[in-house]
């Protein structure tokens, strides 16, 4: 474990202000200042960080918890069972801070920070759902990802991780009735009225099976005629326990699971995960591998945006664009397949590099695509973005400004459409993005149309990046020679016993990653996608936290759809570009 060496000014400020309540400072591998505080001081500390400190931490970037119960290398002061982690992001500093609160097993309760950060609402529900941590003052502290009838808290270490560790699943009639009953929506629970002075409201259950929700999303709408008075999104139908799986898969064998988080993003999901593991392991990735990674990630950005483009147009009633765009996506998949051997979920990045070198003739394929695509994008502009009806349906709909976006934890094109230029590829260049020339497109109105414009322009920028990859692909190894690289280089295994043993262990058990914690994030197609990994010095992760962009984006849907019609809601959902697997993980 390395120690925090940079001048930690924010820690000094906090020590000065909250001296007694600041329990300790935890050194972390990723160098993000991490402070442990008393739980009584949580609200003052967070509100100080959000609004009083110079260059404030305005965004609650992530909120999660860790069950410290079975650690071999404890990190926290005291013997608390749970720690709740608040990850804040400061745009002015371009820096993060992690605030941790330890909670005893007997009384896992902490005050809600919903009043300080509105997006804490769902995060706290998730932590409650997964760990049983209670948040005092939270009005709707109920399960969010698991079924309401679920018993136990899945991410606790004593909760079984495999179905075989649990009794067989049975669904007798009375249980089915109970489960169905749990889905019933009771407006009063959400402080909704059934009627106003002059009209009765309709409560419309939109989803989880609905053509316009792009997956299993349920939104309960309170309607006055067709005008949305309020909305309650319900998620969790796509929950597969990806974070729990991280705790029982080796560091290496978890990579395919990441592919399926944002299933349109392909290797873009591998990216932050392997980056986080490499941070923990201290691996430097060779240049060629970095550029291959960037090229594939940008291909997937275009592929993902094409799906968004087509389905967004379909949401507002244009039937044809989706077919053209899927055809173009198919061309991308041909290239991906030639390089990786798989299309949607190539599972191609490895700890320390990529799985294999680029195949012969890859450059020809990429060149063909680069020649073909710009003309198509131009055609789509006239087909979709310049269409009058389309503009009428999307301009001025679902508007939010930069401050609102930050309040709700919005990242990616949704944030850039409000006129705020913030892109990890520029602000925190990873994997060598600083070596590339490209622009960060922004728009200014923050409505559905502008979110679209930003994405369309991003595709052009991605083409620019891919072209630079093509023209300047460095030579050299595609995988690091570090001993934790998995699978390790094999060329010397038959020459000396050390390499043979390392190879054998890394391949059979998987690599042993040194204890520590690291967070790594990339600018994915939907927003910031980050992995917060806690290693306890074993072959498996101790805690895998996936900071998915779609989760906070869906959370803000009610806030931006009130007063619009049902038809607008579908345009709003389309413009957000979420993937339910990314929301629920």
């Amino acid at each position: 474990m390395t120690t925090d060496t940079r001048p930690a000014t924010i820690v000094d400020t906090l020590t000065e202000k909250f001296g007694d309540n600041l329990r300790s400072v935890q050194p972390t591998t990723d160098q993000i200042p991490t402070v442990w505080i008393d739980r009584s001081a949580l609200q003052p500390v967070l509100s100080f960080l959000k609004s009083e400190v110079e260059q404030p931490y305005r965004m609650l970037y992530d909120l999660t918890a860790i069950d410290e119960g079975s650690r071999q290398h404890p990190v926290q002061p005291g013997t608390d069972r749970f720690s709740v982690v608040y990850h804040l992001l400061s745009f002015d500093r371009n820096d993060d801070i992690r605030v941790k609160v330890g909670l005893p097993e007997a009384d896992p309760t902490v005050a809600t920070v919903r009043t300080i950060f509105p997006n804490a609402d769902w995060y706290e529900r998730e932590v409650f759902d997964m760990f049983g941590v209670r948040f005092d003052g939270h009005p709707h502290l109920q399960r969010i990802l698991m079924p309401h009838t679920w018993e136990g808290y899945p991410l606790r270490k004593d909760h079984p991780a495999r179905a075989t560790e649990m009794p067989p699943f049975e669904l007798p009639d009375e249980r089915q009735d109970r489960e169905m009953e749990a889905f019933k929506f009771n407006p009063e629970d959400w402080g909704m009225k059934r009627r106003s002075e002059d009209s009765d409201f309709i409560f419309l259950n939109l989803g989880p099976q609905h053509p316009g929700t792009h997956g299993v999303l349920r939104v309960i709408l309170q309607l006055d005629g067709e005008e949305i008075v309020d909305a309650v999104p319900e998620i969790g139908f796509h929950h597969r326990g990806a974070e729990k799986m991280g705790e029982r898969q080796s560091w290496h064998s978890y990579i395919p699971y990441t592919d399926r988080i944002d299933y349109l993003g392909g290797v873009m999901n591998n990216f932050p995960y392997v980056m986080a593991v490499e941070k923990l392991a201290g691996i430097d990735v060779p240049e060629r591998a970095q550029v291959i990674r960037i090229m594939l990630a940008e291909f997937f950005r275009i592929a993902s945006h094409l799906v968004w483009y087509g389905t967004f147009a379909q949401d507002v009633g244009a039937l044809s664009p989706v077919f053209y765009m899927f055809n173009d996506r198919e061309r991308i998949f041909t290239i991906i397949e030639a390089i990786c051997g798989d299309r949607m979920h190539p599972n191609w990045f490895r700890i320390g590099g990529v799985a294999d070198d680029l195949p012969e003739g890859w450059d020809k394929l990429v060149r063909e695509f680069l020649d073909y695509m710009p003309a198509r994008l131009k055609e789509y502009d006239s087909l979709v973005m310049k269409n009058h009806i389309f503009k009428g349906r999307t301009k001025g709909i679902g508007v939010y400004d930069t401050d609102t976006a930050i309040e709700w934890g919005v990242t990616g094109p949704g944030l850039r459409a409000t006129g705020y230029e913030w892109d990890f590829r520029k602000t925190r260049p990873y994997s060598g993005y600083d070596q590339f020339e490209f622009d960060i497109p922004i728009a200014h109105n923050g409505d559905c149309y502008d979110r679209g414009i930003v994405r369309v322009e991003e595709m052009r920028q991605s083409l620019r990046i891919i072209e630079q990859c093509l023209n300047n692909m460095p030579s050299g190894p595609y995988k690091s020679s570090h001993k934790l690289t998995t699978p390790p280089n094999k060329d010397r295994t038959m020459h000396d016993i050390e390499t043979l043993i390392t190879h054998f262990l890394n391949v059979s058990w998987g690599p042993v990653i040194p204890p520590g914690e690291a967070f790594a994030a990339v600018e994915a197609s939907k927003g910031n996608n980050g992995y917060y990994l806690v290693s306890d010095g074993s072959t498996m992760s101790y805690r895998t936290r996936i900071r998915a962009p779609s989760f906070p984006h869906i959370q803000m849907v009610p806030a931006i759809s009130r007063g619009h019609t049902v038809a607008d809601l579908l345009a709003i959902l389309g413009s957000i570009d979420f993937v339910l697997a990314d929301v629920d993980r």
Partner: protein, 314 residues
């Protein structure tokens, strides 16, 4: 030699119309396939033409389920209304000299009356399903009906003023020298827009907007009753195309080819145009459609009528 008004002819027109509808379904799917870079049905029979028969067999033999919560009588009547009104509209269409079911001296009014009645089918279907999505579809249909019916009627009055008759046959005869589309261009445009709205097709498929309200007014319908809505929609497309041909495109008039072929070609071209609209355009919101109807189409139709009237009087 005139078959006009004979029972035989009525049956022939009916048969023709009923074979046209499945053909249209196939045509639409193939054309959409062509325009959307894909194939469309191409496996069953030559060019996939038997796909339609397979679909019809499927739809007719499906369980005809009536939801227990629906308003039974209205639920059953609603799909019948659309078929009835659409077929009745065909009665006044003059196909070729001597070929047509009836020559009413209020033919045009009859068509307008029938198309207005047809809207009831959608509203009642949506209402009686007792499903919130259907209800929203029905509500949208009602609002759409209110906004397009007015300017639809007005847009045709220019033609009536010029011809001096409500009879479809007289109107076709009057176009011997020049098609009405030339002097009545604005009337033509307004009527075409209203016509697309009348048959609930994209861009005005607002009552059934799939991505928004599932299947809108016919969400609860299945089997034969769904089939009636489905066929009704396609027949509606033929009616609007046929009426537009009659009123603005000179009906059966045209050089060299026999009149009935001209009528068929013009109608066919319009139908293809409607399909192209579906392939090319997104869908406005229903309040946008309404404000477009009242603020743009209605004044345009009125101005067109006034100018036409003034010219005729002078």
């Amino acid at each position: 030699m005139s078959f006009q008004g004979s029972a035989l002819l009525a049956i022939l027109v009916l048969l023709g119309v009923f074979t046209a509808a499945p053909g249209l379904i196939w045509l639409e799917r193939r054309l959409l396939g062509l325009w959307q870079d894909r194939y469309g049905p191409n496996r069953v029979g030559p060019f996939g033409i038997f796909q339609v028969i397979a679909d019809m067999v499927k739809i007719l033999t499906k369980e005809d389920w009536i939801p227990p919560f629906a308003d039974r009588p209205v639920f059953v009547i609603a799909p019948g209304v659309i078929i009835f009104t659409v077929l009745m509209s065909f009665a006044v269409v003059p196909v070729a000299p001597g070929i047509g079911v009836v020559d009413l001296n209020v033919g045009l009014l009859f068509f307008l009356a029938m198309s207005s009645l047809g809207a009831y089918s959608v509203v009642l279907g949506g209402w009686s399903s007792n499903n919130k999505y259907s209800l929203l579809g029905g509500l949208r249909a009602a609002s759409q009906m209110i906004s397009y019916e007015v300017f639809m009627g007005l847009s045709l009055m220019g033609v009536v003023v010029m011809t001096g008759s409500f009879s479809m046959w007289d109107i076709v005869m009057a176009q011997q020298g020049m098609w009405n589309i030339v002097p009545q261009f604005f009337g033509f445009v307004v009527f075409l827009v209203a016509g697309v709205a009348e048959m609930h097709r994209l861009p005005f498929d607002i009552p059934e907007a799939e991505s928004e309200i599932v299947a809108g007014f016919h969400s609860e319908y299945s089997g034969l009753k769904f089939g009636m809505f489905f066929v009704g929609e396609y027949l509606g497309m033929v009616v609007v195309a046929a009426i537009t041909t009659t009123l603005f495109l000179g009906g059966w008039h045209g050089p060299w080819l026999p009149p009935i072929v001209w009528f068929g070609l013009k109608t066919f071209a319009l139908v293809c145009f409607f399909i192209l609209l579906r392939a090319g355009l997104p869908r406005p919101r229903f309040d946008q459609l309404m404000s477009y109807g009242w603020k743009v189409m209605l004044p345009l139709a009125l101005a067109n009528l006034l100018v036409t009237g003034a010219i005729v009087v002078l």
